[in-house]
Amino acid sequence: MRHRSPGAFLNVRVVTVGLAGLALSVCLHARASAAQQTAPRVAQSSPSNSAGAVRPVPGNRQVIDRYCVTCHNQKLKTAGLMLDEADITRPAAAGEVWEKVFRKLHTSTMPPPNMPQPSIEERKALLSWLETSLDQAAAAKPNPGRTDTLRRLNRTEYQNAIRDLLLLDIDATTLLPSDESGYGFDNVTVGDLPPALLDRYISAAQKISRLAIGSLPSLESDIIRVPPDVTQEDHVEGLPIGTRGGVSVHYTFAQDGEYDIQVYLTRAYNGDVEGLKDPQPHEMKVLLDREPIGTITVQKPANGDDALLDKNFKFRVPVKAGPHEVGVTFVRNSSSLLETARQPLQAHFNERRHPRLTPGISQFSITGPYGARVADDTPSRRRIFVCRPAAPREEEACAKKILSTLMRRAYRRSISDADVERPMAFYREGAKREPDRAKPQGTSDGDFDAGIARALSLVLFNPGFLFRVEADPNGVPAGTAYRVSDLELASRLSFFIWSSIPDDELLDAAIRGELRRPDVLEKQARRMLADPRSYNIASNFAGQWLRLRNLVSVDPNVRLFPDFDDNLRQAFRQETELFVDSVVREDRSVLDLLKADYTFLNERLAKHYGIPGVYGTRFRRVTVTPDSKRGGLLRQGSILAVSSYATRTSPVLRGVWILGNIFGAPPPPPLPNVPALDGNVPGNLPIRERLSLHRNSPVCASCHRTIDPVGFALENFDAVGRWRDSEGDSGAIDVSGGLPGAGDLKGVAGLEEALLRQPELFAGTLTEKLLTFALGRGVEYYDAPAIRKILREAGPNRYRFSSLILGIVKSVPFQMRRSS
């Protein structure tokens, strides 16, 4: 990922072809060093072994000697792998070594293309022997690996847990620092608790309990900003039909009271309000739950000076506590400009290139409450107050009931009387009526609520909520594989599928000790997959696996891609999320992710793709024909854009991305200290020719010969995912590409076909990514047998999505853990 050389600078790949190293064209260049830890690639090999006794095939040793040992021997130590003395008759004795060999052979990434190759039969026989013996050994003595004992909730999990615990939507990005990733996921390196984070956890707990209970005085202000590159000439999803531009957000008001909503218009660099050219007035509306609560006419002032135009765009409105939809938008003018004039571009936000035609909203703030009153009925309060004390003497018992109910869900376990003692002490302290504090009018429970709010902040700031702890059971000897408890299993399951806490049904099953029963576990997993919360697989898991998260920072060059705006960026993400979710929800084959005859579009995206007949901002499922060039992940704008640069495509980035995330043979990282190639590469050469220079350099070629052809196959898609047959003056685009094991191929269709010819490789890669996400640790060589088992069982089902999920849930690494 590091050297995005456009040709001028080129890497020399001399050292450190990691253990997962790709083809080394010249063994002499290789030197053992820096063990690159790369998760082993695992996949199902051809089913060739007969059941029963397994004996080493006598030819295996010779195959290894002939095709591998030339480089991988004690003397050269290529990639730190020495096969001359490794014992092929007992692969399990050196599982790490032989799993590596298995992966390389299976993905045809070894031996290197320019070296002698074993015959198909020889390859098959060796693979079959390795698979059978490694898997048998694993079955006899499973190694489930060890997820860290102490893992805190990451930001996404925290946000989801609050949603499920309190029915409260929060934006955790404004409360907690971001998480770091390992192995491509942000739930791996989560064992730390630095002071700054601890400090944030306290603040978050206090804020959330105030917001959920809505009883304590607090004046808050929030700004809702519309990204500057949003085009606002058309209807915005979520706002009423007949409106134009603006923004609509879900916002939770803490208390009943009055709130100020202040709106600002977008302005150009010189300070003028954008899109306010003619004297035509624009009617701006503020909406609460889609009902207008304020109107302002926006019009160019007579003297032309609009500096103070939006200074007083302020509304004070009474709002009931709880979640509401707040919108600011314009009434659509029957503008002949937009209706008749053919606009060459859909994007309108850049004052110089494609200016706004009408005024837009840049941001609005919500400040309040003024004259606050205790909230009476909100979803959070209904959720929290499972009882209401009718008389002061009932308060203690009711508080206890409320808190123990909350704690059970928050801590994901049953709650004892001792557990509730401390929260009750907090409750009593919070409920204490200050002598100077008047009893709230008409209620007897103002202080009861304050007590609950105080105790709730304690529950939220408790390791039982913030941490997932998996401790070795007492008396288990070191290094033993043991089954995790039912409660631990319940959390593993809910954090895997929902990235959130278990719900009551799952928790009940675990507390009853039934979750470990295979039928109960399967039933729960299926139920959870069917639940809307499993959208998490598309948004959170795929957001990281497919790097949809990176779309926010995709910012194509305005000159080269003038028609890119935030509307399109959001549409990209939405398409892929909905598409992945459809595979989950309809329990399709995961191979459909690579090739499908449908996708999800709205008008903006359909226009971008050149697909006619899709109108409006709403996304809907659209059947696509082959000539639309769409269908399947590799043809989606999201993925094509995140693997491009702001100015151009990058076959290198795309190649690395597909090899690592789809095909399952991640190239080793770029080499450190690479001197630049001599001379300069003219920048006006087509990308293929520029890259050819480094494929001609032997040291660079060792990896780029594999990487670049994969990316070339996608060259029909430009840096924002549009189809193109030619590029600039260079004429027709050459999409000849290749894939290890599949040889030469042409274009995206050829690439998809080649990937689908070895479906177990893609299914295996996805399984590995899912397992990493499920376990919160890197997938290691000893997980390979479990993954092969999942694939063997899912294969006949054409790798239906649920078969991978259930396979993982039933697997040794998911159900067990190794003691320290």
């Binding site: 990922m1 001028a8 700054a196 300070g271 990281q544 990176n550 640069y645």
Partner: protein, 448 residues
């Protein structure tokens, strides 16, 4: 700019065209607490700060001519003219421990001068960074021993998985070899860390007491947890307990500060400015504020992270930073890199001038504050850690000479500078990282 003091400026200043700074409503109930606002001249304090820029520089336009007394500033550094007397350029410093050369180890090595264990798991290992060594001593008396800031709000997926956990690429400050410190890019969160959520003194104190009792309870739970986990995990739990101690101290100091009712009237930043420069300036403003209120004396600030693909169309660089940094000596790309370098430096210049114009003790904040600015990569095009772009600014009262260009003939450990800065901040250690001595030329002989 964004922080408006009641005396100096009207409460709302309408800045035409600068949307970023608009709409920061001042809520009277949120006026924050600040500790000892006015510094007594008798006890000047010393402060250390570090600013990180990614992906090295265009050396031709960075390095000034000659050596010794700093002559004409180079094109990239020209915006620092107003603070030239307090500026030192250091040429030919290197990071040996960051090899094999990568973006991850460039960031990780910048303040640690240490080797980053090659892992993606939670067993990452580096070293205590120079800022944290300073924080343990000069940060003892302040509410926050140190403050970690950055600019990138969105965590990215899959950009730092070359076998290195993302902590190496994203965290500059490490309080122990296994404790990377997260940084904060959201101005509002930074503000609240510094000043709390505000309110009158009594409410602030009540809020702090409430935090304290929550923390007590948390402490008990963690202590219980420690008994539950095996020996191998106890070290981890001990780290949690250390963090608890530290936050306890923060709360105690903030409580003491809340009593002194000398609160400045500040607007609490609500959003994140859209433009990079506005966001960066706001983050620099917060540093000035933190120093002014003596809430912290040690700051690290990652102005952009390694491998960043940010584009800078506002300065004529519509190309993403990272691939452009692989310039292969292409003059056009080098020019663009120099523009990015100059842009970043100009933001630092904005900050230095602000420090210079803020009185502190007998001089200015700049006199009592030393900042190191630079990158862990030299020539990003080939991922080397040689001839790093490094500046030292400020610190006249700490004995930093200023107005110099210190040019080494041979690569010299960056850790020598760390050691010297620690010494100037009054922190005595024998060595740091791979240091081989101090940089005597940096120091005004009269101050010794």
């Amino acid at each position: 700019m964004t922080f408006i003091t009641k005396k100096a400026l009207p409460r709302r200043t309408f800045l035409k065209g600068l949307q970023a700074t608009l709409a920061l409503p001042l809520l009277d109930a949120m006026i924050p607490a600040a500790t000892a606002w006015a510094r007594t001249p008798a006890r000047p304090v010393r402060r250390l700060g570090f600013v990180y820029i990614p992906m090295g520089c265009d050396h031709a336009r960075w390095t000034p001519q000659g050596e010794g007394t700093l002559g004409d500033l180079s094109p990239i550094l020209s915006s620092l003219e107003p603070v030239k007397k307090q500026l030192t350029v250091l040429t030919n410093l290197r990071l040996e421990q960051s090899y094999p050369g990568t973006h991850d180890t460039a960031n990780a090595g910048f303040l640690s001068a240490a080797f980053a264990k090659h892992t993606e798991s939670s067993d990452y290992h580096l070293a205590t960074t120079v800022d944290q060594i300073a924080a343990k001593q000069i940060g003892r008396d302040t509410q926050l021993p140190s403050l970690e800031l950055s600019m990138d709000l969105n965590p990215l997926a899959g950009v730092c998985n070359n076998g290195y956990a993302c902590v190496y690429q994203n965290c500059l400050a490490w309080s122990s070899p296994t404790t990377p410190l997260p940084s904060e890019a959201h101005p509002r969160i930074v503000f609240e860390r510094l000043f709390g959520e505000g309110g009158p003194a009594s409410a602030r104190q009540a809020a702090l007491r409430s935090r304290g009792s929550l923390l007590d309870s948390f402490n008990d739970e963690i202590a219980r947890l420690k008994r539950k986990v095996g020996t191998s995990d106890r070290a981890r739990v001990d780290q949690y307990l250390d963090s608890i101690r530290q936050v306890e101290r923060q709360i105690e100091r903030a409580e003491a500060g809340a009593k002194e009712n000398t609160t400045p009237d500040l607007d609490r930043p609500v959003g994140v400015p859209a433009a990079f420069a506005d966001h960066a300036k706001l983050m620099f403003d917060l540093q000035v504020l933190a120093f002014q209120a003596d809430i912290t004396r040690v700051v690290t600030f990652q102005l952009a992270r390694e491998l960043n693909n940010r584009t800078y169309p506002e300065i004529g660089v519509p190309d993403p930073h990272h691939p452009t940094s692989h310039h292969g000596n292409d003059p056009e790309k080098l020019l663009k890199i120099s523009k990015i370098n100059a842009f970043h430096v100009s933001l630092f210049g904005y900050f230095l001038e602000k420090l210079q114009s803020t009185p502190d003790g007998n001089g200015s904040l700049l006199d009592n504050t030393v900042y190191m600015y630079g990158s862990g990569l030299g020539n990003s095009s080939i991922h080397d850690h040689e001839n790093l772009p490094i500046l030292v600014a400020g610190g006249a009262a700490c004995g930093i000479k200023g107005g110099q260009h210190i040019r080494y003939k041979n690569g010299t450990p960056l850790a020598n500078l760390h050691l010297t800065l620690l010494d100037r901040a009054g922190v005595q250690v024998d060595s740091f990282g791979d240091s081989k001595g101090k940089i005597e030329d940096l120091v005004d002989p009269a101050s010794i």
